[in-house]
Symmetry: D3
Subunit: 319 residues, 6 copies
């Protein structure tokens, strides 16, 4: 009981082998990985940001880290498509949750920024489990501290560049306007992918374009295919340091019902995974997967999907 039978791989500690230590047993860390205090050193940390009062419609993403970690029980060590060990080619750990207020938004923004700053010393990287999309703003601040303006690669049904919601500046609909105002991302190399659904007005997209964003929807799958997405994204990102932010609602509600603001016509999980794999080799400096609200889930399909997206991110981060 005291000793989790972690898998050892090239001197690094990975999840236990589920044929020996079944998935419903053992620690509730992401993929049953070691905790940050169980290893001498690490490369990538998974960290939760259970904050959701930036939510405009259905709340519940505060339980997102729990839901994604639960979904991650299904993951195994070897990525057969990219032929690498996401947990073995680098030391991945679970750093627990960032304590952050769900009462006072500004406090939470500050806590997340501080915690992320502390974690990302040296070449260490984090993948943050939301929480709602508000958290991308402090995370971008931290990425900017280290790397200057990053290429922001944003998968989402919504552009999230609105100004305010009921006078609140920091919400899940506004992080990238705040980021634009602070110059946190490169206006030449950033883009939204998966945008769809009705908007408040034509100015939404016009203003968004003003921040430099190029937009790809989901309807283009029919015409350009997954390869077309990969090409356009790679061209846009160039060789910049990239911050990747995935709102789970970029998937269709059929594939990810457990989210706050679902929009029909989304990607299938197969399409999204295909696009991500096409990015192998880019320079990823940080990432988040947000807006998983488990109470709306069914048979854990959203939690499992989100966990697999984190897995793909870790594969992209693998040296």
């Amino acid at each position: 009981m005291r000793d989790t039978p972690f898998t050892d791989h090239e001197g690094r500690i990975g999840p236990p082998d589920s044929r020996v230590y079944p998935r419903f047993m053992g620690p509730a860390t992401f993929a049953r990985l070691p905790r940050i205090d169980e290893v001498a050193d690490w490369d990538v940390a998974i960290v939760g940001a259970p904050f959701d009062i930036g939510t405009s419609y259905r709340p519940g993403a505060r339980f997102g880290p729990i839901g994604i970690r639960n979904g991650a029980r299904t993951l195994r060590n070897w990525h057969p498509d990219l032929e690498l060990h996401p947990f073995g080619s680098q030391q991945v750990v679970d750093a627990g949750d960032i304590p952050c207020s769900v009462y006072i938004i500004d406090d939470a923004v500050r806590s997340i920024e501080e915690a992320a700053t502390e974690l990302t010393q040296g070449s260490k990287r984090i993948v943050t489990l939301g929480g709602d999309h508000t958290i991308a703003f402090p995370l971008l601040r931290v990425a900017h501290q280290r790397h200057g303006p990053v290429a922001l690669l944003h998968f989402d049904a919504h552009v999230d560049t609105y100004d305010t919601y009921m006078s609140a500046a920091y919400t899940h609909g506004t992080p990238f306007r705040r980021a634009a105002e602070e110059g946190l991302f490169s206006r030449e190399h950033s883009m939204h992918v998966g945008i769809r659904g009705s908007k408040y007005g034509p100015e939404d997209l016009a203003e968004d374009a003003g921040f430099g964003f190029v937009v790809l929807g989901t309807w283009e799958v029919e015409s350009i295919g997954i390869d077309g997405y990969v090409t356009r994204i790679r061209e846009r990102l160039a060789d910049m340091p990239i911050y990747l932010s995935i709102d789970i609602d970029v998937l269709d509600p059929a594939f990810a019902p457990a989210t706050g603001t679902p929009e029909i016509g989304g990607f299938t999980s197969r399409e999204l995974v295909g696009i991500l794999r096409g990015l192998r080799g880019v320079h990823l400096v940080g990432a988040d997967v947000v807006e998983v609200a488990p109470v709306y889930d069914h048979a854990d399909i959203t939690g499992i999907a989100a966990a697999n997206l984190v897995y793909e991110i870790l594969a992209l981060m693998s040296p």
Copy 2:
């Protein structure tokens, strides 16, 4: 509280801006639109027909209008793909529900016909929220009164041209045979789209063809793509006045589980929306979205899908 902060657009009243008046607040009308008695004049009315005893398997579509209206809380004013304001280029209202028996089918058919007749005076149009598919028959009668035989564009997994169910003539499996018998639609310009699943016998489709229907399934997506569907439908409809009837089960159960007679192999929501958008410019005289049975829904995904289909219909109706 008394004053809903409706959005004003070109002199027309649309839904409130959710950044100011969040979606979980306010009236439970479709998209929180004004009620029919709150505006001086209107162009298109959304009206519920909470009738479901024409159902042959899983009942519950009597709660369809409630479910679709709830799903419509997610809609916004601007349609970015067609670049128009569905709620602003025309005055759309919510006309409430048609009181109709769920005990005596013939009474309900009569009530729906009377109510629809009354509503569609002059150039006014309605989009009806089912209820089961039985309601399409009285609605077609009303369309025929105004326009003569219409081109019937019918999205559904099932042809709905059976003769009787347990001796009942008016059911959700028989509306279009009744309509054929009364000559309500043009036999040269009507079609079913999305048909699939097992049938009672080869005579089902033979009889159906006898009423003039051309049939497109869902399997053809692989070969002709969305554009192929658009082309074939537009050719068939020509420049006729069109009545559009969408059974939500034309979507795959993964995308619309909340329905009475699900059939696997359906359209994705992206495909269906793509086809509908391809019809921009056709002459739509009336429409319905039927067979949403909310008790079978999960995370409101069916309600949200149905509400978005209504939104696309309103976009097609926009001048």
Copy 3:
């Protein structure tokens, strides 16, 4: 469609008769009552306060007003046990929702206070549908403006007299400490009923007692019965003006699963209704039913329970 067939009773307008106009049809107001703008005058208004960022565990009470109104579709005109017409002996209306921020707590507290002040002119009374328990604080302020210190009758599993949650002063765990600090309720005539579950420490109840609260749990049902509760409550309240606040978690999770912080060992709905009926004749100046989070509901049982509690409150308010 335009005319809801309201029941007329002694010159007052009540819900339609469901034998003629079934419950799944018609307006989504509470019990399908007239809206506040549909009557010339009124006595009691039902009003929603869809606020939930005072929540410490499971959010979602922002959808409470929708859920309770949906549950209220089951209500009828006559209360056979108290032998009165809750909707007929007084004009009850639905006043819609108070627009209040779910981002900035202080803004919401202010909005609720202003709206409640405006509504409760003269002898008008409101019953507020939460939202989380934070809303009781501004509502008590308004009651205090009219009536001076009220007797606070508080049904809840929790005392809600904590000081702060993560530095936030106005939360669903702190309204009655804030109220005590402002002297909004009488320390001689207030009580909590239904308290149970683990506490942070013995000081919780000690501090609470310092605000003058008498506490009755649920375990006493075994010994004193419903009559015993009625007696003790009536003695405590004396003939004061009473503000009644019901947290739905006073019911056992089996009876009201859809809430944020469930505690086992609660009242059955039969017990709670029995206690409320025993209070016939007290002087109720205002009331709320809070903490209904519909996403956690099953078969609407919590929404129906909450709606029935509002019905009992209206019966207590009947002249």
Copy 4:
């Protein structure tokens, strides 16, 4: 596979022993009992009446027979409290379902009457699984044919003696008025037990009393206990032939959420079973358990409750 390992008991065939033939295996008959065609003779038949268009609110009781049979997989041979073998002291069979229209109410009423007449030849008795409460009317007709006016013992939240629903005479709210009009039950020996919830008006109960019904609610449990109920019921029934009709909504929604018109404050299953057991020895000539709508169920708790009520009925029928 072909041979279900039924338990043989005193020459009668009962359910298989679940320690040998687990409950998730084998035929989907009630309690995995033999079908009517598998035995030479029988005493009591379980028969389904999957009819639900007499429903006024939430439909779905057409799936009731499936749901109750599924719940009955949990039953075993021996009733330890009454110390008898409900399946062994009499031959119980599953007679399948009565084919009855869910489109035309009058047709269904006729079909049920004919089928029940055919089944109840000689001393044979049936327990009918609803379906909605409409079915009690034709079943009472059949009971009356054999036994003259019966004592009607009716467990329900609602009196079901309304006149019409939207002009329909045969609905789930009107069976006992129709029965009264035809003199099917004794006005001196009939009663409702479990009545509660709001009514349309005081005339509801007045009219009901006019048909001779004595009413017991659920609130009396507090004062008279289960024994008090047993005493009052036995006094009322005297030694008449009894028809027992149980609407599952007599249970509280916490115990039986899967029903169409739930009312809070119902019996616990323990109370209801206690009352039924107190009736051992009465002369039961027929019975039904109605209004189970499985789509609203959770973890099969309503189906299991209904199956156990049938089990108690069979125990009461045991010689």
Copy 5:
């Protein structure tokens, strides 16, 4: 009640016509087909194997046969795409369930082998409803007895050729290694289709290849389309006798949530049905559909999908 109104087709007995005998009525056999003892002779039997203790993650497939039979209530007689009668061109029956231990795996393996041997005398064939994938091993043994090494066509997210799980040799992750060890399938003509998701290590696929398996994933849909799959499968199978094993998790969790080990990126139901239909004419000697765990289902969509896959299998078996 006693006489199910089966459809007669060319002297064979099929499901009742649901327009006359609705789907929620009647026997719970697969598609309401006759039981094995109700016909003089038969060609294909549907048989359940409610075993699930070979499961490594989420159990519940013991209820699979119940869930799939329930889903099969939606099937009709005529397959319009292949233009044949799956229930009419051959006599299909429901053979009930194989009694097999859910405590001792080896006992279950033996029971399934014996029962399948007994059933498949002469040219009789069976389609087995799992249960977990462990059952494929004894079924392959029986296929091998009759036909020698078969071409194994295996649809699954997982290769299921692991060695042991917690020392157990017969589990749902190991059937095809056991089968390989016994030479039950041809190493020249077998393949896995639909493989995806993370693996324990690169050796997983290497070992699997050592057993002769060719692997097709799901990602290839983008490049080769459904026709490409059909071509490759037909080439691989050649004209061998084929055993077809479908793990429901080959479908994406959006289409089949009710399974034990879901993996994102799966086939849509439309794709899988398209591939199966492309195999018309192959020589199918046996088949199973496994890993349906109904407690994880929603609105029966997985049960309905599985039932339709069985329907496609029956179509492939039609002469």
Copy 6:
């Protein structure tokens, strides 16, 4: 993130204060307690035994430890009714899960026995989270090693003294027969409480009585009240060392739906907690809470109930 803000109480480490560190954050240990390796010494350990192949009906208790730990997020430090600190008067830790086979029952029995032996050195005690009831057998063996025959206090709907299930000796229906055969409990001081539901035959209870068990059902609540239960249990237990085993199905399915073999007529949570509190002062040497199958849960009510029962057990264990 790395430092959980545990509450310090009398030198012992308890759960964090949820007003500062909300419950949806932090480690997924029971009540967010420290892990066994985080403290120098401990008194009571919570340990999971995720085993469920002893289950005869609905499986899923392998996820019980996850579900109960999740429910335990709601617990706080102070027990106001017994006026003690369950986490402060003794050091409680979470020892993780016992790795045990879910394929081979005998292996699991051995693993559990070994792990429990190792944990309970000296005066250390464990509370085990099931898993199904099979696990009580090895746990009783360990209790017997330390204390000789214990008084077994068993709360359950079922006696669990059957002989075999499908030839398996160790199952969730047989642990106490195996224990009786090995003399693990005192035949003079043991009892079952909460027994109800149908049995296989009168011999079930006769055989059970032969092992010395006294039986109390749930029906006696009506006559003897909670105090009556307490008295009878205390008399029976005398001053023996007690092993307490609670099958969650002792609660009514309304209060604990998430279990494998629900029986109606169970205890309310209030009754069961009342009985447990009445046992303050007895000598508890070990305990388990079993048969929680979370997939059947709703709004976590069963997980929360089970967690509270563990809390009451810890209170009974407090010095």
